[in-house]
């Protein structure tokens, strides 16, 4: 039952989590390495927030592209 709930959650919210964690981490690293923002305390909010937003839009649209 618990496994089924977990699988349903992954199936429904997979795009959001991918956006938040995967894209967020990539954006964070890009901002850290290639911008003047390195070290800024708001950097991770910008990076992970953008990732989460893209993931949420993909979840609502039902597709990435």
């Amino acid at each position: 039952m618990l496994v089924e709930k977990f699988l349903n959650h992954i199936s429904n919210w997979g795009k959001f989590w991918f956006g938040l964690i995967f894209l967020g981490s990539i954006f964070n690293e890009i901002l850290e390495q290639f911008t003047m923002l390195s070290g800024s305390s708001f950097l991770w909010i910008l990076a992970f927030g953008s990732g989460a937003m893209i993931g949420l839009v993909a979840k609502i649209r039902g597709a990435w592209l």
Partner: protein, 297 residues
């Protein structure tokens, strides 16, 4: 198999099967080498890149090449072409099938069962898991769908084949590996962001696009249902070894047990049968399939 009265006795299915069987005996060592080799090379890229011994961009190129080579060895395993019916060698099918797909992040059990359904119901809009790829509007649309992930409709086919116990069991068997392939990049990307992107995620996408375009789309483009009509012989500007000789894919649909590297010889031998059966494009098959005979000039 019921013969059409139009088919001469010399081109009977029985005779076709005997010829095909003679090309279905050899041990597929090349595929094992490619499957396990590319996975080993891909895995070795991680310590090499992380320790600064290899540039990340070079690693990306090598990983992408590995991903393009990853599917076919698993495909042979899906058909049991390593064990060839020997129960003592069945572990080899599973070993190669699982390991080679690490690069592409696909669970072997799901690909195996959906591929078996693809063979059983080729070009059936409801039951063929490859239908959406093979009957897409353009190659660009196929690429978009693969990048989007919308070609992977495993849930849909779990519903379609819900009464097929073997299908459902294999599907459930694959869930832990599918979850691992979802979770592993999400963990790795937090620790090694660019490495995860360029050594695994992007190469897996490139490999999936390559596989879908050349294995699903081109061989079935414009074909219909029916044993001798569901795949075609086609030409391409690309030398055939760069697209895994998928111009010859129709012979695989007729006789899946023929090993991949034995297909050219099998096609030469079976050419008269294929013409008699009106396989799409069979009249254009060269009498001798050399290393690179299929480039459209």
């Amino acid at each position: 198999m019921k013969e059409s009265p139009e088919i001469a006795a010399e081109f009977s299915f029985e005779k076709e099967k005997v010829i095909a069987k003679s090309f279905s005996q050899r041990f597929q060592w090349e595929m094992i080498l490619i499957g396990l080799g590319q996975a080993a090379i891909w895995l070795s890229l991680w310590p090499l890149v992380l320790n600064g011994l290899l540039d990340l961009w070079a690693g990306f190129l090598i990983a992408s090449l590995c991903a393009c080579l990853a599917y076919l060895p698993s495909h042979e395993a899906q058909h049991g072409n390593y064990s060839r019916g020997n129960p003592k060698l069945r572990w080899l099918d599973g070993l190669v099938g699982h390991i080679t797909l690490v690069t592409l992040k696909f669970p072997y059990h799901i690909l195996r069962i959906t591929h078996m359904k693809h063979h059983a119901y080729t070009n059936d809009p409801e039951k063929d898991p490859d239908y959406a790829n093979a009957h897409n509007t353009s190659v660009l649309q196929v690429i978009k769908n693969v990048l989007d992930g919308s070609t992977v409709q495993f849930d849909k086919y779990l519903e379609v084949f819900q009464n097929d116990k073997a299908f459902v069991n294999s599907f459930h068997q694959a869930i832990p590996i599918a979850l691992l392939y979802k979770a592993a990049p999400l963990v790795l990307v937090v620790i090694f962001p660019f490495e995860t992107l360029l050594l695994w995620w992007l190469p897996a996408k490139i490999g999936s696009v390559y596989t879908t375009v050349f294995f699903s789309y081109y061989p079935h483009l414009g074909t219909s249902a029916g044993r001798y009509q569901n795949t075609r012989f086609w030409s391409h500007w690309m030398p055939r070894f760069l697209n895994h000789s998928m111009q010859l894919h129709f012979i695989h649909h007729l006789h899946p047990s023929i090993g991949h590297y034995d297909e050219p010889k099998a096609i030469e031998a079976l050419k008269p049968f294929l013409i008699a059966r009106k396989v799409p494009g069979a009249d254009q098959i060269p009498d001798k399939i050399t290393l690179n005979p299929l480039i459209k000039i």
